[in-house]
Amino acid sequence: MQVNEKEFKPTIVAFCCNWCSYAGADLAGTNRLNYPADVKIIRVPCSCRVNPMFILRAFQRGADGVIMCGCHPGDCHYTTGNYYARRRMTLLFSMLDYLGIERERTRVEWVSAAEGAKFAATMNEFVETVTKLGENKRLEDLRCKEK
């Protein structure tokens, strides 16, 4: 197989809630489960701390994909946080899709503290998806740049 010299490496931001998903990511590490280094995790107390602004900001600064992970619905450490997060993200992602932004660049996944394997598998799959999409240009180009 020919190795592409300028292989595209996406920038992926993963927001993980402290109690489930961040612990799940730790477990993936403890079990030495590989996933691409393109994923960088930001720890938040709960998925409900994730402001849509953060996601747009990440895209603005060059992220190619943003994924948010939280406790499974019903298991939120703060009882209800992920239920609000679920509504917020559903609407935000739907809006981005509506604006013509590739919907595969955004994702929500519920990962428990015991699901290290799921975390790694999710990240592998997400990176693969985003890599196929290539660089994130549309959100930036939504307005024509003045020539």
Binding site: P52, R87, M89, T90, L91, F93, D97, G100, E140, K145
Partner: protein, 323 residues
């Protein structure tokens, strides 16, 4: 109607129910009508108008006005009352300091639209059946309402007042509206087509902030875009991305609170169909979480401040098909 309204306003001023009136005032031209506060019967006689150009939604003005000394009289059209309720629910207006008189509305046009239809030299307007009869320097012109009304009136969601202290004229009903047709059309497009559509629209934005300033849901003490500490402040956009962010964040901030009054699109000097962003959220909320009309009452929780354990997963966005 105008006469009735002035007469009632005078009575309420006279008997001390209110000490001032917010209403529409004639400008230099017949069609450039502006909101104004009237303090006396004389001022009402001199400038108060109510006609088919009186489109402005007064609800937002009450955020400041209701915090002033004394009670204020406000005339609200049916769609304005939804914004009014929403602001009451969010404690943004002090209900006790306001006296609401509901007035009927059959759709409001504006000078720009008429001019585009070739009607110039406008000196007055009146409704006759399904048409506007426009007085011009060149004589009377008749135009069908269907041709002269903005989108928001053509797809009117309700002619029913949801908040008032008294009504002048008959109250209407909630309408069967086709207001989501365009959203559906966009949804049916491919991702590429949607992108091109919005690129065409949003590219015209000059960031004048008119949409934000007129929006009855945008009443923050200080907007995040003006707040240096918010981390996303932008007085003048540094890059094109910020413009996109502005519209997405603004739509998100009013999601579940926007009553679909259409003021944003009405005031946009670049004619960007901003209401299509808000309506997308409204449509999604209706589909995902059940029918919800912001401002319908002052009790129901906003859809983003409540949840159901069986809510749809965000993956619904990918699973709906298309691309």
């Amino acid at each position: 109607m105008q006469g009735k309204m002035i007469a009632r306003a005078k009575e309420l001023l006279q008997n001390g129910t209110v000490n001032r009136v917010i209403g529409w005032k004639a400008g230099d031209f017949a069609y450039d009508i502006t909101p104004a506060v009237f303090n006396s019967a004389e001022e009402l006689d001199a400038g108060f108008v109510y006609n088919d150009f009186c489109g402005a939604n007064f609800s937002k003005y009450l955020v400041k006005e209701s915090r002033k000394e004394g009670k204020i009289l406000v005339f609200l059209k049916p769609c304005d009352t939804y914004s009014f309720n929403q602001l009451t629910k969010e404690h943004r207006i002090i209900r006790d300091n306001i006296y609401v008189v509901g007035v009927p509305c059959d759709g409001k046009t504006d000078g720009e639209t008429l001019k585009l239809k070739g009607i110039t030299g406008i000196t007055g307007i009146k409704t006759e059946g399904d048409s506007f009869v426009v007085d011009t320097l060149y004589g009377e012109k008749t135009i069908a309402k269907a041709d002269a009304l903005p989108e928001r009136c053509l797809s009117c969601k309700s002619k029913k007042h949801v908040a008032y202290d008294e009504l002048l004229g008959e109250d209407g009903e909630v309408c069967e509206s086709n207001r989501f047709d365009m959203v559906e059309k966009l949804e049916a497009m491919s991702s590429e087509e949607r992108f091109n559509f919005w690129r065409g629209e949003l590219s015209r934005c000059i960031r004048c902030n008119a949409c934000r300033n007129v929006c009855p849901a945008c009443t923050c003490e200080r907007c995040v875009f003006d707040n240096d500490n918010s981390g996303i402040a932008q007085k003048a956009a540094a890059d094109s991305f910020e413009e996109n962010m502005f519209h997405i964040i603004r739509a998100f901030h009013v999601a579940g609170r926007c009553t679909d009054c259409g003021e944003c699109s009405r005031v946009c000097p670049q004619n960007i169909p901003l209401h299509l962003l808000n309506r997308k959220f409204i449509k999604d909320i209706n589909e995902f979480y059940g029918e919800f009309q912001a401002g319908e009452d002052t009790e129901t929780r906003a859809p983003l401040n409540i949840f159901d354990t069986e809510d749809v997963e965000p993956s619904v966005v990918y699973e709906k098909g298309g691309n």
